[in-house]
Symmetry: C2
Subunit: 767 residues, 2 copies
């Protein structure tokens, strides 16, 4: 047993699990997120069977967006079908009520099982096992075993708890319960779109009860069973819960009932086996072995696990900024999805990346509407994107805790880099997959419409002789209303160049398709020339000739130069927002996250090492890491410039942002807990782009290993150009195996030397 953290009480055995042996009520919100179960369709928080909304228990389901309070549209938390309590002579068996002798909560990543063992002081033991099936996305299952060292009269209440926690209003206009074929059924209907949600529960006991009761309420329905349990006897309760919505199926209720029937027929073990096998397949694709470091190994798998379960694989739904771990950030997609979550999928299972991008195609209507409403052309993607792609980000996001007044933040209208970020992701997807069919049918339309948006958003400054991008927020959200933000301008330039590149490819390949698309999108030859001109004349801050520093935006270097530590002394209240309009960081160079570092990660060929180094050290000192997106990017660049100490520090910061969370999960009355899925996805990038030094080029894979001493090697699979490779990266040797399914050779450039890796070959290359 290796303790990962004293305060958070997290341990591992062998890097394939986390567990805790002490119950800490103060950590229960974070723990509920960290031990989350999920499969991309639903997320079920790692709370206990007896927990309720007071304990932030939740089962969040994709595609159930609803706006109940007139302001925030968010995913629904559906009735909790695994709810189960145990009592005996007035004793309620819960960790914070009844003292325990032994306790363990364990999340096994490999099998994706959540286990809980408690031995209460009175000799009663409770062992549970839960999973949300990766094989059958609509299914939750639980095995609940009770035993006792001395005879007891027990009462179990189990069923569906419909009294759910919701951050922004009650989402259900209708709530009803029923019983059919000994299944408990909860039916709710969302307020805005009238989505029907069915939660169908079935349970069975290994023993007959002495007394059975049905408790039926408007939104909850339970069975209560009383029974005598003899000394050293074990009672097992087996529960299956099927969840379907009218967005999943035309007959959600029937489908849910049928799924329960099928599940009963298969039995608990078989269902579990299918689930576990599905997970083993996923690990085959995504696992990264950190040889020689079990602690780091655990952190890695924790993050890969969470990136996997946050990501819908079954359908084209957004990846929430908190995944399906709760309703925070509305269950909706930010740029995080393409830039932080997607790379792991793109270079492992590109079909999942395509799913993500097709979601953007499906929601282009919303992006076009947003552009038009704001007086622009083309597609201006939502900063917070739900089902339709319409903007979910409210005008007032934060509030001033000193005055109680809400703050008008402008993420929704000024943070324009979201659009070129999607072009960037499409470009990376096409580079990695050469999937022209996707470009032709989906990608090009997005890329062209993003270019149209940029065209309408830039301004030519006659006096200065260049195009400007005025009034934006870059990734550093504490500086709103800035001009010529280097990150944003570069992304815009890149997006225009990509549009021109795809246009060229269309011309080369299939003129008819192009003609039709150009006509549909109203793209003339003049427009193509215009894009060319803008791309050429779009202003980008150059590195200063002496300092090599690149300015974050116009006038950034004139802002007050102060460290985040000193600046924080100006806080009047710990919970104050640091950014717009008058937060303590606004008039300073202190950033929430460092735009330039982000740019250097995303465009790793742009500047030479000296420039990268100078900018890293300049901006790093001034970065508060007020965003969970920030540390991983710093780890990658620190690694690239050979600062192993910093790289490792930021790797640990990034990979433990949730696991060791000392953050408050509730700030200013708002729940902002949950899993930081972008940070989860970014850990993959730190390992592959950072420590392993891998860059994907148009015709090769570059590897410049910089494995920290703390690891022996990093070992993982990579998919590129439809070729699959098993890599084991040491600092002095890189093992490359071209897998059996491969169809062609591929060049690898290792520390500058080109190696042609033949298909189906195993290679050991000194680096």
């Amino acid at each position: 047993m290796i303790k990962l953290n004293e305060n958070a009480h997290v341990s591992t055995e062998n890097g394939w699990q986390i567990f805790e042996k002490e119950y800490d009520a103060k950590q229960s919100i974070n723990s509920g997120s960290n031990y989350l179960l999920g499969n991309g369709y639903l997320g079920y928080r790692g709370t206990f069977a007896e927990n309720t909304k007071e304990d932030y228990t939740a089962c969040i389901v994709t595609d159930t967006f609803d706006m109940a309070d007139g302001k925030w549209r968010e995913l629904s938390n559906v009735p909790n079908g695994l709810y189960t309590t145990l009592t005996s002579n007035g004793i309620f068996y819960a960790l914070d009520v009844t003292g325990y002798n032994n306790y363990e909560k364990k999340l096994d990543f490999k099998d994706a099982l959540l286990k809980r063992k408690t031995t209460y002081k009175d000799g009663l033991s409770l062992n549970t096992e839960k999973y949300s099936s990766m094989h059958e996305k609509h299914l939750l299952a639980m095995s609940y075993e009770v035993s006792t060292i001395n005879e007891k009269t027990l009462s179990i209440k189990t069923g569906i708890d419909g009294d759910v926690w919701s951050i922004n209003g009650d989402h259900f206009q209708l709530k009803e319960t029923s019983i059919e074929d000994s299944m408990l059924i909860s039916h709710v209907k969302t307020k805005e779109y009238g989505t029907d949600i069915y939660v169908v529960e079935h349970h069975s006991f290994s023993h007959q009860g002495s007394k059975e009761e049905t408790i039926q309420e408007e939104s909850s329905i339970f069975k209560s069973l009383s029974f005598d349990l003899g000394a050293n006897e074990t009672l097992t309760l087996t529960k299956y819960v099927a969840i379907y919505t009218s967005n999943d199926s035309e007959q959600p209720k029937e489908d849910a009932i049928q799924l329960i029937k099928n599940t009963i027929n298969k039995g608990y073990d078989k269902n579990k086996e299918e689930h576990v096998e599905a997970w083993h397949d996923l690990w085959q694709a995504y696992d990264i072995k950190a040889n020689g470091n079990i602690e780091a190994q655990t952190l890695i798998r924790f993050n890969l696990y969470h990136n996997i379960i946050a990501t819908p694989r079954h359908k084209k739904h957004p990846i929430g900024a908190r995944g399906l771990s709760c309703q925070a950030y509305q269950g909706a997609a930010f740029w995080d999805q393409e830039i932080f979550n997607m790379p792991m999928f793109l270079y492992s299972t590109p079909e999942v990346a395509r799913n993500i991008l097709e979601y953007r195609y499906d929601t282009i209507y919303g992006a076009r509407k947003k552009a038009k409403d704001l007086g622009y052309d083309g597609a201006f993607y939502a900063w917070i994107s739900g089902k339709t792609g319409e903007e979910l980000c409210p005008d007032y996001f934060f509030k001033n805790v000193l005055t109680g007044r809400k703050i008008r933040n402008h993420f929704n209208i000024w943070q324009i880099h979201i659009s070129p970020d999607i072009t960037y992701a499409i470009s990376k997807y096409y580079q990695a997959t050469e999937d022209w069919e996707f470009i032709e049918n989906f990608g090009a339309e997005i890329v062209f419409d993003v270019a149209k948006f940029i065209e309408s958003r830039v301004h030519f400054n006659d006096f200065k002789g260049y195009y400007e991008v005025i009034r934006v927020l870059g990734p550093d959200e504490w500086h709103e209303n800035v001009d010529n933000n280097t990150f944003t301008n570069y992304q815009c330039k890149f997006a225009l160049e990509e549009a021109l590149e795809f246009y060229k490819q269309f011309k080369n390949r299939n003129n008819e398709e192009l003609t039709s698309l150009m006509k549909d999108l109203n793209i003339s030859n003049e427009r193509i020339e215009k894009w060319q001109k803008i791309a050429e004349k779009l202003f980008i801050h150059e590195p200063n000739q002496e300092t090599l520093l690149i300015e974050q935006f116009d006038g950034f270097f004139k802002l007050e130069d102060i460290t985040p530590e000193k600046l924080s002394n100006r806080l009047i209240d710990e919970e104050e927002y640091w950014g717009w309009p008058n937060g303590i960081a606004v008039a300073t160079q202190v950033s929430k996250q460092a735009d330039l570092v982000q740019l250097l990660v995303m465009h790793d060929h742009l500047y030479d090492q000296e420039i990268v180094k100078n900018n890293y050290y300049y901006y790093e000192k001034r970065c508060k890491h007020g965003s969970s997106l920030s540390p991983a990017m710093h780890a990658i660049i620190a690694s690239r410039i050979g600062d192993e100490e910093e790289a490792l520090k930021y790797f640990y910061t990034s990979s433990t942002v949730d696991l060791f969370s000392t953050n408050e999960a509730v700030v200013g009355g708002t729940f902002i807990g949950g899993i930081h899925t972008a940070a989860a996805g970014a850990v993959w990038q730190v390992l592959v782009h950072g420590f392993s030094g891998i860059s994907f080029r148009d015709d090769s894979i570059e590897i410049n290993p910089r494995i920290p001493e703390a690891f022996d090697s990093l070992e993982f699979n990579i998919t590129f150009k439809n070729q699959h490779f098993h890599l084991n990266v040491f600092n002095d040797i890189v093992f490359i195996e071209s897998l059996k399914s491969n169809t062609r050779d591929l060049d690898f450039v290792i520390n500058g030397s080109k190696h042609n890796i033949r298909k189906h070959s195993s290679n050991k290359i000194p680096s």
Copy 2:
């Protein structure tokens, strides 16, 4: 005696004076401003001889700008040479200390004399008379008479009180006092520029004293005289104070001493006579008789008086937003100077208007520097302009009273209309005077450099096909960071058109001069074409076809529509700033002052009556009049659209903003009291442009009388095209006298009928 206001205890006898007979300590700050003496060189607050800095006594002198606190540059308050106290057996004769039987403070406008009479309860009477000479700008004088009904031993302390009030730091690096030739001398030196200031005092008593003492301190110097005053005897103290600075003269001390000597030689009566005669000449030029309404007459003269004394006539110095009534707003010029103060001078004594505009020429260096520092071309005038024209407006102007944090307002960098406003004033000056010599030597350079600034400040929006002006504040300062502000855009367009017009005139008149100027200013033919193009394609919000409403800026009509009254309920603290960034007005249509109303005043030919009416009523309802500039503009437009009731209401509001002031003079710890000189200047505009309906056209004067019933007629002199006219405007008849000095005929268009007014003729024209 006509009481003008119950609470402010202000009365008049015949419209040529204000007086109070009750002393109200709470009004003493406002009273000190309202009873201000001045002559455009200095302002001496209408406090009492015995008052000190605790009573906001001040003598503010032009051209003494100094920055003592590193943030605010402001005029200096110089040592108080009229300081005099009276004591008797431990009784200190002051209004708030010793009870009085009779009291009167009176400001006589005609003679510009401030008189004070007090009879204390113990039978002692004090009569004083003060003036700041309009004939000799460096001179202050006081006659101080004490009498008593029963014999008393009295002590008078008189001299120079150097312990002065200053808003932003102590401005003097050196303070010294001396006595020469029985003159008391105070010498101070400012911190920033080392300006030497000399205050030289001389006093004489009508009686010999029993005991004389000299009290000499670092910055103060007094004589103390004790004497016995018999029953019904009167003692007279006569004081002269001369003030010179090293900016006025190379030998300021000698000049001050010489002035005192000359003054003594002439004697009190002669000096006073010269002062009074100078004032009678001014009233000849500026007075407006409101026949039939003594109350309104008093308000009018109060405002004309303050506009006169705020305005430097002797040199090209800025007119302060609070004149010389205190240091508030730094003693510096805003757009108020050209748009609010100047018109009265322009159409009465155009040489004073030229003075004002030459000040802008003298400070063009600062405007060019500001433009360059911010990345623009040409001349971007300071929002707050002092001696050099460099920007005096600090980044942080207001503070958030709820949090104590200072607010980054952007008056200094976004309120760009100041530059075209100056072009507007030059255009009006040229129209009124045909003074080509001024244009050739001063005006054109400003106008061309303003055009260059605008050229570099606008952006062409390809997508929309027009030029935009992005990120500005219009006159309504509660809405910062707005685009295509109608007022600003129209002013920019107008300023470009004027530049083109002057260019054309140059070409017609004198090609050599033009060639040289164009070369100096780097103005090519292409640039002239560019200005033409920008002027043509600069976006201006058009009146909506149905509502006829003109939008204040992009998106204004989408802001929350609420009345100022309802909105004010959202205040947490009465002193909160309503504007940027998160004040209660920001996200609403409530304005500090109504941009559109201002535009309609300044460009009275732009829209027809229906459009004017609809816009007036729309914007008036949503205007909080948070600026003293606002009510007068509303009075003018209300008058124009025939709403006499509203017009009169706003006339009274505007003309009493200081006189009846119920405002707090100290807000958030900052003194913002003092005379609102723009409102003073605007009252002239209400009477001439509003009630008399006078518009100055290129070749005529239009008169459309709309004299409110509250007046019989308005009678005043007007100068236009170097011709002088005496007008008496009734609603049904206009009397026009072309004065003897005139050299030509001029067309008057009265209610649409053209009348050629022959030189030296008297005309009675039915309207």
